[in-house]
């Protein structure tokens, strides 16, 4: 048993090692448009991308919390990134998608206007957010410069929403 386990382990190591090397300098991202701007999040933080479905409003939440919806039996919160970023909410059209991401172990869906593409970007091309950016909530991981000259804002998924901003503290 033990020896078999070791072999399996070795195999796994040899399988994962080259990938680790790759991921050291290349980051895989998914790009999308919210409002006028292109954003990206690490591909690994995305659980799934779905077409818009009906949601239920939830009272006493900030306006960027649109409500909750049913994803195969689970109740997920739905966040409108446009409102969150201070723009007006867009009409939902055929390009609109819900991106489901895991934040602190919980699935949360975000409305985005349109997906652009999967991106591979070298780590050295990601710069820290410039001081001129309003990055109060620390939601920006960095700014990526693509080979074609596009500038993409990379989001810090874990900081996109915070419980204390949504549910007032004095209420249990």
């Amino acid at each position: 048993m033990g020896s078999l386990n070791e072999i399996v382990k070795q195999q796994q190591q040899s399988l994962t090692k080259p990938e680790e090397n790759v991921s050291e300098d290349i980051v895989q991202l998914v790009g999308f448009i919210v409002g006028e701007e292109e954003f990206a999040v690490p591909i690994l933080s995305i659980q799934e991308i779905i077409k818009p479905i009906e949601w239920t409003r939830v009272p006493f939440t900030p306006d960027y919390v649109l409500g909750v919806f049913n994803l195969r039996g689970n109740v997920l919160p739905l966040i409108d990134l446009r409102i969150k970023f201070g723009a007006a909410a867009n009409e939902i059209d055929e390009n609109t998608r819900f991106i489901v991401m895991k934040i602190k172990g919980e699935d949360v869906a975000f409305i985005i206007d349109r997906l652009t593409s999967a991106l591979r970007i070298k780590k050295k091309n990601i710069l820290p957010p410039p001081d001129t950016y309003s990055n109060e909530d620390d939601i920006i991981e960095g700014v990526g410069r693509m080979d074609d000259g596009r500038i993409i804002t990379i989001l810090k998924v874990d900081n996109l929403i915070k419980r204390e901003d949504i549910v007032p503290n004095n209420e249990g």
């Binding site: 239920t56 939830v58 009272p59 039996g73 919160p77 009409e91 919980e106 209420e171």
Partner: protein, 828 residues
């Protein structure tokens, strides 16, 4: 090894259960010391634990139970009366047993270095030797506190059986004499085992001649005793060695393991020459578990998983029913409907039964929790110097396991509270003309979908005025709030954080945390607390708790466009009223319902829902009850009663005011579940600032002249739209145009539309689908939809009615006819 592990687990589970039962039985025994059945039962438990313990080589446990058993045996034979002092010692040894068992559970052996059984053993032996008297208690207590056993001028440890003759007994004080004798008897006992079981004289059996015994010919009881005896013999040798040579203790562990093997080898041939170890273990296991043949133990995780699956099944069932209803409308009269109906109903019945069955497997009698309270009350009353009797009723009432686990702590707090604050000291009770002994009742019974736990005492009761005064002093409420408070509300003050009525802080309660915890815990279970108290006569607490947490019955209501599920256990009734039934008193809206005056709040105001519906003649009111408070909640529609499965809103949204969670309905949509307790608090705030009659009319639109009205024309042909526009412009109403269903829906959301003319054949979204979509919204339920089409068959018309069209106009039409239809629908 696995089998031993299994055996050990079985032993532990059983031992813990038995000890818990024993605890309760012992307290009961104290009240009726002559109950022989009870004594026998307790004795048997001690004996079983001793037997299984010794088989598993738990020397310490065995030694303790052995001495305890001796006391019980004596009591059983009528040679000893159980006094409270003796009971203290027995209970102490039960506690030590618990401690050792817990140590075994965590560490696998019974060395339990923190538990010193010797002082207890000494006390137990003293009792066996009939030297226990209230006086004795003191000296024993002393000997417990000082480590070397010194009584008077004598160091007992120096006395052995060998040098006993040298002591001059005449020169001793009576107290010293007692102790010395006791000590000697104890030394003697160490060398003596039980003597005779059945026809066997155990003293004749030694390890050497064990082979000669024919175990098959023995009665089970005898066989047990013989085995036990042999094990004891085996164990005695190393024990003595240990005492003499303490340095060898490291090796002794290894020795024990060796012994284990040896012991098995030694006893096994005694039974049959080549009887395997496994068989023997099985035999023992059988003996241990023979009591519980009809039950199996199941991991709680499996039951939880099962319950989750059932929850999903219930949701799927709801969905199936919904789909069936849709299909039924569309294919009325078709043959397959009958069959489908049968399948759907049978699935729904089976699901319900299954749910009940699984719920029942998770149910435990509340006695499981109640069991520990006799002991608690006994210890407390002795500590506080009060006389308190605990009467337990309804311990067979069953509750979900998860609730049973949660309910223990709050109940401990409440019982403590009753004994500490409720029941007066004996002198005070006497002075008041009450019996010296106070009584606390602990009662459980079912009431509908709830279980009620009642904690009642006949103590001093609570004075609402005093409570208010205290609360004002502590800054919990203001004077004006206090003035408006009913007695019942005043009683609820004791659940406020930081409120404690005990003048003196005892070790038991009075730090002002307990009752606050109770309330939080009960609310977590969606429960209700009711308090009633009469000064001088006592206090009654009622905890009402839903039977199960996962699946509940709910009333579905709509407030404007939004649906909410209200737990049915908090719905007292539903009524339909007209605006004239609402009274405004001092700027607050109330509803007079029969003899009661209830505060009335619009649900849309509580949740700050935008009002889009025009007020109707009738208003629908849900009367909600929680604790002592009742309110009327205005909703816009009753949807119906449904079984719902509670789901959390997740880490980010849970704990929102007024919302307990969410459920997924038959149509796949999410509906929020009301948290009644929290909603009541919100409603109180809303009630103070919003007058219902005003809020109801917020959505009323003022429309007098034709230009106040807007009609939407939906047609993909620009020419057809033009024809309609030409015909209707004469009326002086506003007209907006859409070229297909999708555009129409968008325009509808951003415009205040009073009627729609809809073509059927359109790209992207046709007229039927458009009508269907529009009717999904509550606020467009009454919006006139007029189909204007060249499709003239009867089937088309029927379809139009089905999807919710109000009228059906076929092209071509005259301008006059169209005007009439629109005018009629707008009410012009």
């Amino acid at each position: 090894m696995d089998e031993i592990q299994e055996l050990l687990e079985d032993f532990l589970i059983e031992a813990f259960e038995m000890i818990e039962e024993m605890d309760q039985d012992l307290v009961e025994l104290e009240n009726s010391p002559d109950d022989l059945d009870l004594l026998n039962k307790i004795f048997r438990v001690a004996h079983t634990i001793k037997g299984s313990g010794s088989f598993l080589n738990f020397d310490k446990l065995t030694r303790l139970t052995h001495h305890m058993e001796a006391v019980l045996d004596k009591a059983r034979k009528g040679e000893l009366t159980i006094t409270p002092e003796i009971m203290d010692v027995i209970l102490e040894s039960v506690d030590a047993m618990k401690g050792i068992l817990e140590y075994i559970r965590d560490n696998g052996d019974d060395s339990a270095p923190e538990i010193d059984i010797e002082p207890i053993v000494v006390k137990l032996d003293a009792i066996v030797n009939g030297e226990n008297a209230p006086k004795e208690e003191k000296s024993l207590e002393e000997s417990k506190s000082e480590k070397p056993k010194i009584v008077g001028n004598i160091n007992l440890d120096e006395i052995t059986l060998e040098n006993a003759d040298e002591i001059d007994l005449d020169s001793l004080e009576p107290e010293e004499l007692d102790a010395v004798l006791e000590h000697l008897v104890e030394l003697r006992n160490k060398n003596e085992g039980p003597k005779k079981v059945g026809n066997i004289n155990l003293d004749e059996i030694t390890l050497e001649n064990a082979d000669e015994i024919d175990l098959d010919s023995l009665e089970p009881e005898e066989a047990d005793a013989v085995l036990e005896h042999l094990v004891n013999l085996r164990n005695q040798q190393p024990k003595n060695e240990n005492e003499q040579e303490k340095e060898e203790s490291k090796e002794s562990k290894e020795k024990k393991e060796e012994e284990k093997k040896e012991e098995k080898k030694e006893i096994a041939p005694a039974k049959k020459q080549d009887l395997s170890n496994e068989q023997k273990k099985k035999a023992v296991k059988k003996a241990i578990s023979s009591v519980a043949e009809q039950t199996i133990r199941v991991d709680v995780k499996r039951l939880d998983q099962l319950m989750n699956l059932i929850g999903e099944l219930v949701l799927a069932k709801n969905r199936l029913i919904k789909i069936y209803n849709d299909v039924e409308e569309r294919y009325e009269g078709e043959k397959f409907l009958e069959e489908l109906n049968q399948v759907v109903s049978s699935i729904s019945i089976v699901t319900t039964d299954l749910q009940i069955a699984v719920m029942k497997t998770r149910m435990l009698p509340i006695g499981k929790v109640f069991n520990k309270f006799p002991r608690l009350v006994r210890d407390l009353s002795r500590e506080l110097g009060k006389k308190v009797k605990l009467i337990i009723e309804g311990e067979d009432t069953e509750l979900d396991k998860s609730i049973i686990e949660e309910i223990g702590d709050p109940l401990v707090h409440m019982i403590r509270n009753s004994v500490d604050h409720g029941i007066e000291p004996p002198e005070e009770r006497k002075a008041k003309g009450k019996p010296e002994e106070g009584t606390v009742w602990l009662r459980a019974y079912n009431e509908g979908n709830m279980i009620v736990i009642e904690i009642k005492d006949d103590g001093k009761g609570m004075d609402p005025e005093m409570l208010k005064k205290k609360a004002i002093e502590k800054g919990i409420i203001t004077e004006s709030e206090a003035a408006n408070m009913s007695d019942k509300e005043a009683f609820m003050l004791i659940f406020k954080p930081g409120f404690s009525t005990a003048a003196k802080v005892t070790s038991v309660s009075g730090r002002g945390v307990g009752m606050d915890v109770v309330k939080t815990n009960i609310e977590k279970l969606n429960g209700i607390i009711e308090v009633d108290s009469i000064p001088g006569q006592g206090t009654t607490f009622k905890l009402k708790i839903p039977l199960t947490l996962a699946i509940i019955q709910a009333l579905l209501v709509a407030s404007q466009e939004d649906l909410f599920a209200v737990p049915l256990s908090n719905v007292i009734e539903t009524v339909r009223i007209v605006e004239e039934d609402i009274y405004t008193i001092e700027g607050k809206s109330v509803l007079k319902l029969r003899e009661e005056v209830l505060p009335l709040v619009n649900m849309a105001d509580i949740f700050e829902i935008e009002k889009v519906l025009e007020p109707e003649k009738y208003l629908y009111v849900v009367i909600l009850g929680l604790g002592a408070t009742k309110i009327g909640l205005i909703v816009d529609r009753f949807i119906g009663q449904e079984e719902i499965v509670i789901k959390s809103l997740g880490e980010f949204l849970k704990g929102l005011p007024g919302i307990a969670g969410a459920t997924i309905r038959g149509d796949g949509r999410v509906t929020l579940i009301i948290d009644v307790g929290s909603l009541m608090r919100l409603a109180k705030e809303t009630h103070n600032k919003k007058i219902v009659t005003e809020s109801l009319n917020e959505a009323k639109k003022k429309k007098e002249k034709p230009s106040d009205y807007t009609v939407m024309l939906v047609d993909d042909s620009a020419m057809d739209r033009k024809i309609m526009r030409n015909a209707l412009e004469e009326l002086g109403i506003n007209l907006i145009e859409a070229k297909d269903g999708v555009e129409a829906l968008q325009l509808l959301k951003s415009n205040d539309v009073d009627a729609m003319l809809i073509d059927i054949e359109m790209p992207r979204m046709d007229g039927y689908t458009l009508a269907q979509e529009i009717r999904k919204y509550n606020k467009y339920r009454k919006l006139p939809l007029i189909a204007v089409t060249s499709r003239t068959t009867k089937a088309d018309r029927v379809r139009g009615v089905e999807v919710g069209m109000n009228e059906y106009i076929t092209k071509p039409y005259t301008a006059e006819y169209l005007q009439n239809v629109v005018r009629r629908n707008l009410g012009l």
